[in-house]
């Protein structure tokens, strides 16, 4: 637990908080990109400990939350076709247009909950007479393992394995948020684990174009307050640059091996984001070479289109325009037991963080 316990140290965290109180002179809006950071802030009670002048805006970095509704319907369609669908646990309770994957499972669908896509390859190998699809959701962080599963399947000569891809990328999303005229963001805490894979070269142009600080930040309490402190230092001085608070994990060039694997299987393409809409060049799709492993093409489900739930304001939440508690449905018609949208379901979703951990909980 080294590198974790040090960053959960109460004295060190309190010291930075005190320092922060001294150094902040005016209100600043800071967006943490990653849902893991949102949860870190809420579950440690940090939001209440931060100086009043600092307002944290919760970003779109929850892969489950930004996966469009039609992808869930596509996965359910695969289950209905008798295909074994494998998924990360988070995804299964997110409502599709008619039901969630979990409900489809209860109706008899063969849904397997996995921690690693490589396990799905094993399942494909053990079930040669069945088609097996892995629901490849996520940001840059899960892309290497998902890509690797395809390479493994290819190497094993498996013809019954494919992936349903819904990969999204962080920098284009940040750009889309900043291009929104209603945005009020003064600085970003960059997503530490995404940068651990991809490095942070892509963020320099954003700093220059939008003239705001970006601090690549970790997830533990001390990481978060240090990241906020570094952002505030810059804001107070009126400067903007890229800084790396999470240097114990993140290198500028990222994980070269992982990037190679991604580039072999995926290429950048347009992607739809739940609640935000289509963002050009904001996700991954399969390269031509690996088309046979693309579940959408293989099973002819690429045409499924459905409308989002009109009561759910996930788009405003994900762009940081509204806080979960500002949603009229929050804690009333929408709760983790009966979620209207993904941010209330996912362990990284802002709505679920508020519902489960903060004083706004209705329990």
């Amino acid at each position: 637990m080294k590198y974790l316990s040090e960053y959960r140290n109460i004295e060190d965290t309190q010291k930075v908080l005190k320092q922060l109180e001294k150094s902040v002179s005016k209100p600043w809006n800071i967006m943490e990109i990653c849902g893991g950071q949102t949860h870190g802030l809420v579950r440690n009670g940090l939001l209440e400990l931060l100086p009043d002048k600092i307002r944290m805006i919760h970003g779109p970095g929850c892969p489950v939350c930004v996966t469009p509704l039609n992808l869930i319907d596509k996965a359910i369609e695969l289950l209905d076709q008798g295909i074994i669908v494998c998924s990360f646990g988070d995804m299964i309770r997110v409502p599709g247009s008619k039901k969630s994957l979990l409900e489809a499972k209860a109706e008899g669908g063969d849904l397997r909950i996995l921690y690693s896509p490589l396990e799905a390859v094993k399942i494909a190998k053990n079930n040669p007479d069945k088609e097996v699809v892995f629901f490849a959701v996520g940001f840059e962080t899960t892309a290497p393992a998902n890509a690797l599963s395809v390479l493994h399947a290819q190497k094993e000569g498996l013809t019954n394995y494919s992936i349903l891809v819904s990969h999204v990328l962080v920098p284009p999303a940040m750009e889309a948020i900043l291009d929104d005229e209603f945005n009020s963001i003064d600085a970003f805490l960059g997503a530490g684990h995404v940068c651990a894979i991809m490095g942070f070269k892509d963020y320099y142009p954003l700093v220059d174009k939008y003239k705001l600080p970006i601090i690549i930040t970790g997830f533990e309490p001390l990481d978060l307050v240090q990241g906020i402190q570094m952002a505030v230092d810059q804001l107070e001085k009126g400067i903007y640059k890229l800084e790396n608070q999470y240097a114990r994990v993140v290198k500028e060039e990222g994980n070269i091996q992982a990037i190679k694997v991604i580039q072999k299987v995926f290429e950048v393409g347009d992607r739809e984001w739940r609640g935000i809409g289509n963002i050009p060049e904001s996700g991954y799709k399969m390269t031509k070479e690996f088309k046979d492993f693309d579940a959408e093409l293989r099973f002819g489900i690429d045409n499924i289109v459905v409308a989002e739930n009109s009561l759910c304001i996930a788009g405003d939440i994900l762009r940081g325009l509204k806080k979960p508690v500002e949603c009229p449905q929050f804690g009333k018609t929408c709760s983790p037991a009966n979620p209207l949208g993904a941010p209330m379901v996912s362990s990284e979703g802002a709505c679920s963080a508020y519902f489960n951990f903060s004083e706004h909980s209705i329990f």
Binding site: M1, V42, N44, L46, P221, F355, S358
Partner: protein, 321 residues
């Protein structure tokens, strides 16, 4: 594997006068109040590090009876066996039931075995119902809980859930985490002998973990519960496994673990008594009952913040116990 064969194994293993009556049911005598608890066990995998479904089915129900403040005496035992379960596995499970029953001092007095077609079950399901005599000094009821009461746990949390998790298909990871499934009836009865009605509540935080049980209690009593993150006994390897899998140990299932809510005036002696028991050496006080934040459990985080602890919605781990 036929039912007759299974019955033979069962009768020869559990051999006792009540069972040997071979009636449709067992006739037993109780003086005074009795506590009854039933539970079905569908854990997958059936064999896991530190135990198997057999001892889980005994300990789980024995502990539930003990949590009512009663001395567990008898168990009913019903198997639903899926075709294809290996005979040696069945025998191993039955033997585990027997040794767990012996250890906790209960007799298997009636039972049933059904065999279902392949695909209609998951190797083996077990239902047990436990019967116990209410301890003469026990007055266990959430309505006895008062503000200021102290909350204790008898050992490391989340161990059982993580042991199961480490062997589940698709989630395997290497660890030496072993389930702590065990009976805690003797420990609980000893505490009742010594502290009687000063003990206001016993509860075993199986499914949904400590967080869910405490949330239920807070809602039940209409008072608040305040807990401290730093006070939770958590074994290092379990903490690391939870960290890797992104699970909150507060929501992970437990076996052999129980929560006691006790009048504050006996708190020190109570903790000392718990620690004397081999199954309680890691006992801790984890929190208090308070008039603040009624119906809510609030945790003081390790870095000095506060957070709500809400009950588990759905399942953090599918089908643990």
């Amino acid at each position: 594997m036929t039912r007759d064969l299974l019955d033979k194994i069962i009768f020869s293993t559990f051999d006792n006068p009540y069972l040997n009556q071979k009636h449709d049911g067992a006739i037993v005598k109780f003086d005074g109040e009795i506590a009854i608890s039933t539970d079905s066990f569908v854990v997958s995998p059936v064999f896991f590090k530190g135990g198997n479904i057999g001892e889980l089915a005994v300990n789980g129900t024995v502990n539930d009876v003990a949590m009512c403040g009663a001395i567990p005496k008898y168990l009913s035992l019903a198997f639903i066996v899926e075709e294809g379960l290996k005979m040696n596995e069945f025998i191993q499970i039955v033997e585990s039931v027997k040794s767990a029953a012996d250890e906790s001092g209960v007799l298997i007095i009636t039972g049933d075995t059904k065999v279902v077609e392949r695909g209609k079950g998951d190797k083996i399901f077990i239902n047990t119902t436990g019967f116990g005599e209410v301890h003469p000094k026990a007055d266990i009821s959430s309505s006895n809980i008062k503000a200021g009461d102290m909350i204790f746990v008898n050992g490391f949390i989340a161990q059982h859930g993580m042991a199961i998790m480490s062997e589940r298909e698709g989630l395997e990871f290497e660890s030496t985490i072993v389930s702590d499934t065990t009976n805690i009836n003797f420990m609980a009865m000893n505490l009742l002998d010594k502290f009687g009605d000063k003990i206001h509540l016993f509860r075993d935080p199986t499914r949904g973990g400590v967080a869910s049980v405490l949330s239920e209690i807070a809602t039940d009593i209409g008072m608040g519960i305040s807990i401290n993150e730093n006070d939770f006994p958590l074994e290092k390897q379990v903490a690391a496994a939870c960290e890797i899998l992104g699970l909150d140990p507060l929501y992970v299932a437990n076996e052999g673990v129980f929560i006691s809510i006790v009048s504050a005036d006996v708190a020190t002696e109570f903790l000392a008594e718990m620690k004397k028991d081999p199954k309680g050496v890691n006992s801790r006080c984890i929190g208090t009952v308070t008039l603040e934040h009624p119906n809510k459990v609030v945790m003081n985080s390790s870095i000095g913040g506060k957070r709500m602890v809400s009950p588990l919605i759905g399942e953090q781990l599918p089908r643990i116990c």
